[in-house]
């Protein structure tokens, strides 16, 4: 039996977002959406997390950080890119310091579109992330 679908812990990292998506991520935790219903916890620590939730595009200075955070998460793990910026670089894509979407530096499993991504779609993205998590566990197990 797998417990991953019952207890996916997320770690939220703000790469270089405009903070729009971040506010929506936090909105998921409010009474209105209450992510904790599904056993989801926002851990604030990659070493405890199963799902890495990244908002915003990746810039030159935080490539290293994103890679380190990803590396420090224990297996199995998935990455959910939240918002247009995280998916492709979005509105910042052509800025001088921007690398592009998160998938330029770490493998992304789920892309959540939107600018800003709506809480419903974020939750949907996390749920799909859980499915990806289950698959990865089966592969490693």
């Amino acid at each position: 039996m797998s417990f991953f679908s019952k207890s996916p812990w997320i770690f939220h990292y703000d790469a270089s977002s405009c903070n729009g998506c971040d506010i929506e991520v936090l909105a998921c935790l409010t009474p209105f959406y209450d992510l904790e219903r599904f056993g989801i916890v926002n851990t604030g620590n990659p070493k405890h997390a199963d799902i890495l939730l990244i908002t915003g595009s990746v810039n030159e200075r935080n490539i290293e950080i994103v890679q380190n955070l990803y590396r420090q998460m224990p297996d199995p793990k998935v990455v959910v890119a939240v918002g247009a910026c995280a998916c492709s670089g979005g509105i910042f894509a052509r800025a001088y310091n921007i690398q592009g979407g998160v998938d330029k530096v770490v493998p992304v499993d789920v892309y959540v579109p939107g600018c800003a991504a709506r809480p419903e779609s974020i939750i949907d993205g996390v749920v799909q992330g859980i499915a990806a998590l289950e698959q990865k566990r089966k592969k490693t197990a």
Binding site: N62, I65, N68, L69, Q72, P74
Partner: protein, 642 residues
């Protein structure tokens, strides 16, 4: 018996004199090692010959009278103190020494000193047996350690003039004094041995002969001489009483009147020697002596002489106001120094505070004086002597390799010097982890204090509650530091290889001793400590060893399994390695972290200290004041009782 004890006193004295004139290091090392083996062997032989009886009395071989020898040695020691003090322009010590000599000469010349029974000069019972083993086995081990330590010491402090012949000579003379002290029954004779240990301590503290250490040496001398004066006055009072100078008879049961005053004065001597407040500062100064000195005199043996005397006096003062006040001096000391230890970064000082605290605990046990408490007191002596001796020796070893005594610099010691770390861990565990002796002793103490009625009982229990929690704090901090790990550089990997055999051969047996005593605590209690407490108080101690073997078994299992599992997983790392989390910055296990604008940074972590909530100096002074008042009350109580 008689000849063996005489050998234990005379032989180290002889070797000490011989070493004074041995300037050739090779020859000296040979003599030291050989005589250490001899001393240890004879100590064991003494214990074997004693068997396990209740206590025997004997005199010098051939029934020799010690009277003249005692007076002569007292005059010699006083002359020495006076000369060296005047040479150093210190005038308090000679006054105290002359007072002492004056009392002794007056008693002798006025014929006040009753004839000593030549067959009752020495008293050897299970407590003496424990002490002889402590002095006769731990002592030689520390002397052997000193060979390696002193070589490195002089290498790393070239300013200090090498007088190693004096150093080793003093160590051996000290051993002679200790053997005499713990086996004495006739009080004037005990006083002479008492002063021998005081003088050795004084000279060893001042070994490096800098202004600083000379100051500390005189502080130690002054305070110990105050105790000596107390001892002398007690002898003068006791000389008037029938059989007063016979320690065994004096302490066969509760006393009153003049005897109680004398007991209070003897307790004062015990308190100064065991460095309890208000006399604690001398032991802290003594930490400037070379580390083997700290190990031998200032933790394992000499300071134990103080609490040894208190334990001896325990049946006499139990239940009296003097006894209560002695207990309060001890426990207040325990509480205050534990608080100060939580503010201290210098490991040697932490060890010193912890030593004072443990001695205070023993003093507290002896003062209240129930079979359980004195049982606990002797247990602490045994475990503390081995564990603390070991800790001081390992700190000495570290000091000569890492050039620091600061706890904060011992990061990742376990990967830097794994063997030394393991020795230290054993020592620390011996100091405060259940079921090692001291925890059991604390437990017994709280149990017994619960039975003490009134405000005194409540205060004692409360002090114990806070004091023993504080010990967890400062040892815990040290454990964290030692246990952390990191990748080593090549230089670091070579450090441990440069430790001499002298040091390994002395530290390892002590660690083994701690472990053996832990595993054999049952037989130790049943055959040695328990019967002694029974004999001293005519009642058997009810300890949890007898009450709850299951609990003991569980804790034993923990003590055996946890290190075994830890060792196994250390050798067979079956885990995925991670780098430490630093908010996403690159890190590695050499404690290095990448910085935001390039470059790397060595991470260094500093612990929390109680200095964040209290002022160590202030607490120390407050404790000194409180204990001084208690001590004054103690002597007053004795005077009133008269």
């Amino acid at each position: 018996m008689s000849s063996l004890i005489s050998f234990l006193i005379a032989f180290p004295l002889l070797i000490g004199t011989l070493l004074l004139f041995t300037w050739w290091p090779k020859v000296r090392n040979l003599i030291v090692v050989a005589s250490c083996v001899a001393v240890a062997a004879v100590s064991i032989a003494t214990v074997i010959q004693f068997g396990n009886g209740n206590g025997v009395f004997f005199g010098l071989p051939g029934g020799v009278e010690p009277g003249a020898a005692l007076i002569v040695s007292e005059i010699a020691m006083t002359a020495f103190v006076v000369a060296i003090s005047i040479y150093n322009r210190r005038f308090f010590a000679p006054v105290l020494a002359l007072i002492q000599l004056g009392i002794a000469l007056y008693l002798e010349l006025a014929g006040k000193l009753p004839e000593a029974d030549p067959q009752r000069l020495f008293w050897f019972d299970r407590l003496s047996m424990v002490m002889v083993l402590v002095v006769g086995i731990i002592g030689p081990l520390i002397c052997i350690n000193a060979i390696g330590y002193m070589r490195d010491y002089h290498r790393s402090s070239p300013m200090v003039k090498g007088r190693r012949n004096v150093f080793f000579s003093l160590l051996f003379i000290f051993l002679a004094g200790m053997f005499g002290l713990v086996a004495s029954n006739y009080l004037p004779m005990m006083l002479v041995f008492w002063e021998v240990t005081t003088l050795c301590s004084f000279l060893l503290i001042g070994y490096s002969r800098t202004d600083e250490t000379i100051g500390y040496a005189f502080r130690a001398l002054n305070m110990n001489l105050i105790g000596g004066v107390g001892f002398s006055v007690a002898i003068a009072l006791l000389a008037e009483q029938p059989n007063g100078l016979d320690l065994a008879m004096l302490t066969s049961g509760p006393v009153s009147g003049v005897l109680l005053l004398a007991v209070a004065l003897l307790a004062l001597a015990g308190i100064t020697k065991s460095a309890q407040m208000p006399f604690s500062s001398w032991l802290l100064g003594a930490m400037y002596a070379p580390s083997p000195t700290s190990a031998l005199l200032h933790s394992s043996t000499m300071v134990k002489a103080g609490v040894f005397l208190l334990l001896r006096l325990s049946p006499a003062m139990a239940g009296s106001s003097v006894g209560y006040l002695v207990a309060f001096v001890g426990l207040l000391t325990f509480l205050f120094v534990s608080l100060v230890a939580g503010t201290e970064e210098n490991l040697k000082k932490v060890l010193a505070y912890s030593t004072i605290g443990s001695l205070g605990l023993i003093g507290g046990c002896a003062g209240i004086g129930t079979p359980e408490l004195v049982w606990a007191g002797v247990m602490i002596i045994i475990f503390h002597a081995m564990a603390k001796g070991l800790l001081f020796l390992t700190v000495g070893t570290l000091e000569n390799r890492l050039y620091t005594k600061n706890i904060e610099n011992f990061d990742a010691l376990l990967s830097l010097m794994p063997r030394v770390s393991v020795l230290m861990l054993v020592g620390i565990a011996g100091m405060f982890i259940a079921p090692f002796g001291i925890v059991i002793a604390k437990w017994a103490a709280i149990r017994a204090f619960l039975a003490v009625p009134g405000i005194a009982g409540a205060a004692l229990v409360t002090i114990m509650a806070f004091g023993s929690s504080l010990t967890i704090f400062y040892w815990g901090k040290l454990l964290i530091k030692i246990m952390s790990a990191r990748r080593q550089s090549d230089y670091e990997r070579s450090i441990e290889r440069r430790i001499s055999w002298y040091e390994w051969l002395s530290e390892a047996p002590l660690a083994i001793g701690v472990i053996a005593a832990t595993l054999l605590i049952g037989p130790l209690s049943d055959n040695v400590v328990g019967p002694w407490a029974t004999a001293a108080f005519s009642a058997a101690p009810r300890t949890f060893l007898t009450m709850d073997p299951a609990a003991l078994l569980i804790m034993m299992a923990a003590v055996v399994f946890l290190p075994a599992v830890a060792y196994w997983s250390w050798r067979h790392p079956n885990y995925d390695h991670a780098d430490f989390y630093a908010s996403g910055r690159s890190t590695n296990n050499a404690h290095v972290m990448g910085m935001a604008l390039g470059g790397i940074h060595r991470v260094s972590l500093r612990g929390y200290y109680l200095s964040g909530v209290l002022d160590g100096t202030l607490v120390f002074n407050a404790g000194t004041l409180a204990c001084a008042a208690t001590l004054l009350a103690m002597v007053t109580a004795g005077v009133v009782a008269r």
